[in-house]
């Protein structure tokens, strides 16, 4: 787990930073968390072992052309936003039972929040 640093404490207390600055900060750390995803997911539209994640946020689940999704993901009918990504990344099998992403999830809520901030930057 990532230790809390002073900046984060101050941000939570609303003593420093605007929402935008906080987000930029988070996305930079999120890019590091993304190392967990990078073996299978490209940050552009290219499909690898997993679908390309360019333009992920705001997209409907199971919708990337040319990627062979599991039946579970095809039927999930989720729009990927902060909330749905957070629950999926926390426990992929709980959020979409039977999906075939071989990843057990990210336990730390802060890590997930930063990762989602990073995913939002992928266009």
């Amino acid at each position: 787990m990532r230790p809390l640093n002073l900046l984060h404490v101050l941000m939570v207390l609303g003593l420093v930073g605007t929402a935008d600055r906080a987000r930029a900060q988070d996305a930079a750390h999120g890019a590091k968390v993304f190392a967990n995803c990078a073996p299978c997911h490209a940050t552009n539209a290219d499909n690898g072992a997993g679908p390309g994640l360019g333009g992920l946020v705001g997209r409907k689940s199971g919708s990337v052309a040319g990627f062979r999704y599991s039946r579970a993901m095809k039927a999930a009918n989720i729009v990927w936003d902060d909330k749905s990504l957070d629950s999926y990344l926390a426990a992929p099998q709980d959020a979409v039972p039977g999906n075939t992403m071989p990843f057990s999830g990210i336990v730390d809520a802060g890590e997930r929040r930063d990762l989602i901030a990073y995913l939002e930057t992928l266009k």
């Binding site: 967990n36 073996p39 299978c40 690898g48 072992a49 062979r68 075939t100 071989p102 990843f103």
Partner: protein, 586 residues
């Protein structure tokens, strides 16, 4: 009709582990490399994806990633007086097919061999006297030292993101690691995998007997990892589908994850799949090879591929067969001891026993291929063999690699083999048992060798490679001794039931999986009179031919072979760079 193609600088036969490492070194210098692989590319195919990846019947029970015996197999006889018969189903060892070769279905168990392994004969003669080694045990030195290979070990471990705990840093023994480890310059690139519950039980039992247990070094990545080439591994999910499977999480360090996707982007690299090499063209007078002949399995067209340099980087058996068929070097004759090609063929000596715990949950399905806890006290020459009547040994470990439903059935002795009681025993003990195993050495014997079968031929109308092979007294005695040590640990585990130990017995049985670690046939050495390739893996009989793989090991250690293979392949890559600049006997 045979089409002759344009000459290439380096042609590598076989697109597996060693070919990928050699090509990494060569193409970094922009040197022209062509790899010919008989199989296809499985990296993003169904076998590497859920749910097909979990098909235990297809990939494990039926060895779906291994060589197809309807096309090519081997024949076996136990002695020269018998007639060899073809092996219809591969079981004892599993040669790979397709990009990555056998290294896409490996477990990830990683070792550097002992510091003395490359000078084993010298060591045994020094420690036990000149006459201690029996005449029929044709063990010999590699012609290269561990110190020369050490930097390549370190590089390979970084490339493959090996996870472990150092036991010997620059000569200083480290707590928690293997005290018998060859000295390393640095810690492992990643921290060791967490122990299994079985590993914890094994640890306390081994410690109570005064041994020093440690986590096996693993190619199953404990976390997301980027190697020095920028190639990435995912995090191991401990799903227990490593050996005989391609990792769907890209968490098992393998050539098809870490090497070939990168090589395919390099301009001087070319890969031809479904390209089955039929043979090497040898110019006996010039003592050189001209190139290779291969068959495009998609079209049936035959090609001649001329090359400045040919590297044989296929499985042990195929490397040996190419030399025998081309007449490169003298075939080994067990009667006279003359000739070297086919000599010193070895396997490994596996044995063990099972422990059952009524009140402890061991959950064997939560495992990776190398999440093992080991002791190395009884491996090879880590203990005194004076008066024991054998050489060699093995590491002993808590063997939990998977709890797959078909293959994983540990049942107490006396359980009926079918029916209600069998079912009940499965339910009672599945989650409460594990196996303590010995991963043992196999030293060469004068009568264990490979040659061409005079009777049986493969789908390409070429003779099968014939194994004349049996387990000999040395290995039988070693297995008896070390399995007894494993039993002592088992009895110290506090188990409800300890099954009787099963040391390896003869005759050699191809129906039971041992390891995929067969070795020898094209052995390396400093003396052309007793080896097939030089310490630089260069053929003594064809200057521009190189052979790499476990076929160059003069004997088989009690350790898994992949570590030194990675080091030898990377070193060969660098040697070939030098050779292209100035062709010569290296």
């Amino acid at each position: 009709m045979v089409t002759t193609l344009k000459k290439r600088t380096v042609v590598i036969c076989g697109g597996g582990f060693t070919a990928g490492l050699i090509a990494r070194q060569l193409t970094a210098q922009n040197l022209d490399v062509l790899v010919l692989e008989r199989g296809g590319d499985r990296a993003d195919a169904a076998e590497a994806k859920l749910p097909s990846q979990r098909d235990e019947l297809r990939w494990d029970a039926r060895a779906g990633l291994a060589q197809d015996t309807a096309v090519q197999t081997y024949s076996l006889r136990h002695s020269r007086s018998e007639e060899a018969l073809p092996i219809r189903r591969l079981a004892a060892f599993l040669p790979g097919e397709g990009i990555g070769g056998a290294a896409n279905h490996w477990n990830g168990q990683t070792w550097r061999w002992a510091e003395y392994d490359p000078i084993m004969r010298t060591r045994l003669e020094t420690r036990y006297g000149k006459n201690a080694i029996p005449a029929e045990m044709t063990i010999q030195d590699w012609g290269v030292t561990y110190a020369e290979l050490e930097p390549y070990h370190a590089l390979w471990e970084k490339l493959f993101g090996i996870a472990g705990k150092a036991g010997n840093l620059r000569g200083k023994i480290q707590p928690g690691g293997n005290p018998f480890e060859a000295p390393r310059q640095d810690e492992y690139p990643q921290p060791a995998l967490p122990p299994t519950e079985a590993g914890l039980i094994f640890t306390s039992a081994a410690e109570s007997l005064g041994y020093k247990p440690f986590p096996m070094a693993a190619a199953n990545s404990p976390a997301a990892y980027a190697n020095p080439d920028g190639m990435r591994l995912g995090q191991c999910q401990f799903c227990g589908h490593c050996e005989r499977f391609i990792c769907e999480a890209k968490a098992k360090a393998s050539p098809e994850v870490l090497l070939y996707p990168m090589l395919l982007k390099r301009p001087s690299f070319e890969l031809r799949t479904q390209a089955h090499v039929l043979g090497v063209d040898y110019d006996r007078d010039a003592k050189r090879v001209r190139g290779v002949r291969y068959l495009d399995l998609m079209t049936g067209e035959a090609y001649e591929q001329p090359a400045d340099i040919v590297v044989l980087a296929s499985f042990v058996m195929s490397n040996t067969k190419y030399l025998l068929m081309a007449g490169i070097g003298e075939p080994y004759d067990p009667q006279t001891g003359a000739g070297n090609v086919g000599r010193n063929f070895c396997h490994q000596t596996m044995s063990g026993l099972n422990v059952f715990f009524k009140d402890r949950w061991l959950n064997p399905f939560l495992a990776s291929g190398a999440s093992q806890t080991c002791i190395d006290e009884f491996n090879e020459d880590n203990f005194d063999h004076g008066g024991l009547g054998f050489f060699g040994g093995g590491y002993i470990y808590s063997n939990v690699t998977s709890g797959r439903p078909i293959g994983h059935r540990l049942l107490p002795p006396g359980t009926p083999s079918w029916g209600t009681k069998w079912k009940q025993a499965n339910a009672d003990w599945y989650a409460h048992s594990f196996n303590i195993y010995v991963h043992g050495s196999w030293y060469p014997h004068r009568e264990n060798y490979l040659d061409l079968d005079p009777t049986y031929r493969d789908a390409y109308d070429q003779p099968l490679l014939r194994m004349t092979f049996d387990i000999r007294d040395n290995e039988l005695r070693m297995s008896e001794y070390v399995t007894k040590k494993a039993e002592e640990i088992a009895k110290a585990c506090g188990a409800t039931i300890v099954s009787p130990p099963t040391p390896r017995k003869g005759p050699y049985d191809v129906r039971v999986y041992q390891t995929t670690h067969v070795t020898g046939g094209t052995i390396m050495g400093a003396d052309p009179a007793t080896s097939v390739v030089s310490p630089h893996l260069q053929s003594w009989d064809a200057e521009n031919l190189f052979v790499v793989g476990a076929s160059v090991y003069p004997f088989n250690a009690g350790y898994n072979p992949t570590g030194p293979l990675g080091a030898l392949a990377l070193r060969l890559g660098d040697d070939l760079i030098s050779y292209t600049q100035r062709p010569r006997h290296l």
